[in-house]
Subunit: 341 residues, 2 copies
């Protein structure tokens, strides 16, 4: 293992970033100056940033560093797609304590670079600094979109369809599985043996999530312009409330329409948890939630991996989940880490 | 005092950011969506990011939170000016442990917002998250510049003049003073009493640095296009080496030309330190280092707060400091935190 102190600051940055290849024509200047230079003409610039802290956003007991790097990048791409844009560049700042070696940092970077390769994104800035405790990852992503294509959260209109990509609650159930296995690993429980068989999907959703570039591409291909959109990082319930409040509308979402993966449902049953609660309030799915005009219904049902879960109503009617027996349950935002409590 | 837990995540962000006013025409969308939207036409976009960690980059024993917020923003602006651009937007991510209250965060934000007001910058994204230990501040700054005006580090040519704004070593001597007073405060020394009289300037340089917007404006006014430029955050010696290596040139810098403030010199004497070493290797001055054609000599000497400290040479001649007795001393990059040892 190589100690970080064996490199100087600049040697370390060079070492970590020398393999980076710039691929976008808009990237005029990447790492190596005070700032990156980006060239845009008719496009608009999108920017998003995310700070990940050890022990809060990730637990190195069960998250491999390469996966962590991958995920840290992808969650930022997801924010850009949620604007109907395309991520193009990121900057990466790492704070690392002396328990990390150069090899550890290389692992993180290899995950970041793999994500960048998969999504066609350039790393244009890097910064690695000492930390007294733990690992900190801060990533900023810049994206572009045509001005008239950008989708905000405040455009949902009465009768719009509410659509969700993929399925919900899987990342949260993957986290529950990892937490259980961590207890086993730490010897805090007796009999239960680690068992990931048949649970690969929910593990991957937690450890190596993907951003829904495919959905954005399908929307463009079909000529669908959503009226509002965001990614689902804090649970469907919380995100729907954002869209409704910012659009000044209400909504009705149907419990039996919420897409659930079989592995997530099985895991919930095994842990005696309610999978609908996990789907509504569990975080980190990074699926897309969007609304669109009912006139687009025919186009929407032709999309792959997109389901209609409800519709927008007048503001006065409130924001409700319609249960399997027709009962109306007001949606609640659970706030941060409420499920982790 | 209000506990952070009394707000939900979104309530806290709203609380912290509700006073933000957007002022730039290029700011299409600020806080409140997945990403900020910026509109640029003939300008190029500049982006820089900085991660500050408690105990590494700042010590809350002697750094007031408002000053910390101000400085965290200004150091990013400095990076944009160092490209000959103008900062326009920032995003702010804070990681805070539960020993911080809402009032603490307000103090940090008030400093950030004051800096933004002073420099005409919009806050376009915010994120506050729990941390297990200490305070983390991550700021990303987006700036703009005309394409042909952007100044990189790699354009210095033989015989170019080497220029420095303001004076060097003051922020470092301010830090030494604060460290000494911290020891007094902690009762680790006996006789010395806190004494800031006559040292206000170096304290301010450490606690509330400014970015050299004025220099960028003067350069534009006088029609001077530097051949290379960067800000001096790690000491003149280290930054000159960056410029020389990237430009494939050498340099000669004259010890007696290095601008030193009287308070910094006095502080160095009091602490029995070498002020030239502090000026060459002390960090956080945030002055501008730039090179320009000797044809601009007449214009340069007309600039306020800019001094010529040396000139660029052929690469073979190396990078040297010329001492007061004419001796050549090779410049060395001290690497990170070397002076903090």
């Amino acid at each position: 293992m190589t100690q970080i102190s064996e490199f100087g600051e600049f040697g370390l940055i060079y070492h970590l970033t020398k393999k980076i290849k710039l691929t976008n024509s808009s990237t005029v200047k990447g790492i190596g100056d005070d700032a990156a230079v980006l060239d845009y003409n008719d496009k608009q610039v999108l920017i998003t940033t995310d700070l990940l802290l050890e022990g809060v956003h990730f637990d190195l007991v069960y998250v491999p560093l390469k996966h962590l790097g991958y995920k840290a990048a992808v969650v930022n791409f997801s924010d850009i797609y949620a604007m109907n844009g395309h991520p193009k560049q990121i900057t990466v700042s790492l704070g690392v304590s002396n328990r990390f070696t150069v090899e550890h940092l290389e692992e993180i970077y290899s995950g970041i670079l793999l994500a960048c390769k998969n999504y066609g994104v350039d790393v244009v800035g890097g910064d690695t600094t000492a930390s007294l405790t733990g690992l900190t990852i801060s990533i900023t992503c810049i994206g572009e979109a045509e001005k008239e294509k950008i989708v905000y959260r405040n455009g949902a209109k009465g009768n719009d369809l509410i659509c969700v990509s993929g399925n919900l609650g899987s990342a949260y159930m993957g986290l529950q599985l990892l937490e259980r296995e961590k207890l086993v690993f730490e010897g805090q429980t007796g009999n239960i043996q680690p068992d990931f068989a048949g649970k690969e999907y929910i593990l991957e959703r937690q450890l190596k999530p993907e951003a829904r570039k495919d959905i954005i591409e399908q929307l463009a291909k079909k000529g669908i312009q959503p009226t509002s959109m965001m990614d689902i990082s804090d649970g469907l319930s919380s995100e729907l409330i954002h869209i409704c409040k910012q659009s000044n509308v209400g909504c009705r979402v149907y419990e039996d329409k919420i897409p659930i993966h079989i592995q997530a449902a099985q895991m919930a049953e095994e842990l005696n948890m309610n999978i609908v609660t996990a789907a509504l309030n569990g975080g980190e799915d990074y699926e897309l939630l969007f609304t669109c005009s009912i006139d687009d219904y025919e186009k929407i049902i032709g999309l792959k991996n997109v389901g209609i879960v409800g519709h927008i109503t007048k503001s006065e009617l409130g924001m409700n989940l319609i249960g399997r027996n027709g009962e109306e349950i007001p949606l609640k935002a659970q706030g941060w880490n409420s499920l982790k409590g």
